[in-house]
């Protein structure tokens, strides 16, 4: 077994990177994969609370790098899945405590015993981002259908392509089908045309995502959630399966259809 290292990044903050990592992690673990997530946002630890593991942290990734603990000791086992682990970010240090070669070393030590290593990159294109992509086999760029997020995603894709060793794929997060329908939101086709990279998933806007974060139970565990379904589909694609993209229009609920027929918009 040799793990695939997948880094999730975005350029702009607040587009749903951490949520995407948490959801892909549980979706992969639910398929029986051995998964480790690494929170790469040193100083702004977040993945622990989204996964509901914030009370179990003893050591963090900087403790591993600086030799204060063994790798195993910093790996926190998930509440739901035996084979899902989190290596948390340090909260009281900054990004300069880690170098790209440190991340490569940590990932190389994890590779033999796992199927997937997911790295949650910080926003921006500086040191923390460089650290997060250093070991990546695959980079997922998360964006929202908003001008600022798309522009920043394009910068990140440009940087990744300039380095030639990464193959970026796009996760379009928080798409609102009703707004797309009324031409008040960029469509998936628009964003793909602008960014011109491979698409790996479209995640519809879903209140369940916040409810999941509130509880520390990612929405991918909710079989009825559309966003959860979208994340489960991305996890299948990461495993090399061909899964058709969700038809977001067709899945529009009864309420959405009533609103549309009534000519109303949210």
């Amino acid at each position: 077994m040799t793990a695939k290292v997948v880094t999730i990044t975005s350029g702009k903050g607040g587009v749903g990177k951490t949520t995407a990592v948490a959801n892909l992690a549980v979706a992969l673990a639910a398929d029986g994969k051995k998964v480790v997530c690494i929170d790469g946002d040193i100083g702004l630890r977040n993945l622990d609370i989204v996964l509901g593991l914030e009370n179990r942290i003893v050591y963090d990734v900087v403790d591993v790098i600086e030799g204060r603990c063994r790798l195993r000791q910093a790996m926190i086992r998930d509440k739901h899945f035996q084979d899902l682990f989190l290596i948390p970010a340090a909260q009281t240090r900054d990004k300069n405590a880690v170098s790209p070669s440190d991340m490569v070393r940590v990932c190389d030590e994890l590779r033999p015993d796992h199927d997937f290593i997911l790295i949650d990159s910080p926003a921006g294109i500086e040191r923390g981002f460089r650290n997060s992509i250093a070991a990546a086999d695959k980079v997922l760029v998360v964006t929202n259908p908003e001008v600022s997020a798309v522009r920043d995603a394009d910068r990140v894709v440009g940087i990744l392509e300039a380095e030639e060793k990464y193959s970026p794929a796009l996760v379009l997060n928080r798409l609102n089908p009703a707004m797309v329908k009324s031409h008040d939101m960029l469509s998936a086709a628009d964003v793909l045309d602008l960014l011109a990279i491979q698409l790996i998933g479209i995640v519809p806007e879903d209140e369940g995502v916040i409810v999941g974060s509130n509880r520390g139970t990612p929405v991918a565990l909710d079989g009825k959630s559309r966003a959860g379904q979208a994340f489960r589909n991305i996890s299948k694609r990461l495993q090399g399966q061909e899964v058709p993209f969700l038809d977001l229009d067709k899945q529009e609920g009864l309420w959405g259809r009533i609103q549309r027929l009534a000519g109303g918009r949210k």
Binding site: E146, V147, R151, D154, G158, D184, L186, S187, A196
Partner: protein
């Protein structure tokens, strides 16, 4: 909000504005070329070409175009025919 009035006065829906604005800004982001620098480049190109052949500066179109993730500088420069040049 405003959907009805937008339609009535024929103004663009916001998604269309977003796409058009992004198309422009991404070309400049990717090439690290500001609109002012592009204008200066156009002027230099026109001057250079005019030294060799007669052209109508008003008919010249020079701009950056996207092709996937690649950008190219495209120039469309109509040449005046010899007959017209003599007549003019």
């Amino acid at each position: 909000m405003g959907g009805f009035f937008d339609r009535m006065f024929g103004s663009k829906r916001s998604a269309e504005s977003a796409k058009e604005r992004l198309q422009l800004v991404l070309v400049h982001d990717r090439t690290d070329l500001t609109p002012a620098q592009l204008e200066a480049l156009k002027d230099d190109l026109l001057k250079a070409i005019s030294r060799h052949i007669e052209i109508d500066p008003a008919a010249v179109q020079i701009g950056l175009e996207r092709d996937g993730r690649e950008q190219r500088l495209v120039a469309d420069i109509p040449l005046r025919s010899v007959a017209r040049r003599r007549a003019g």
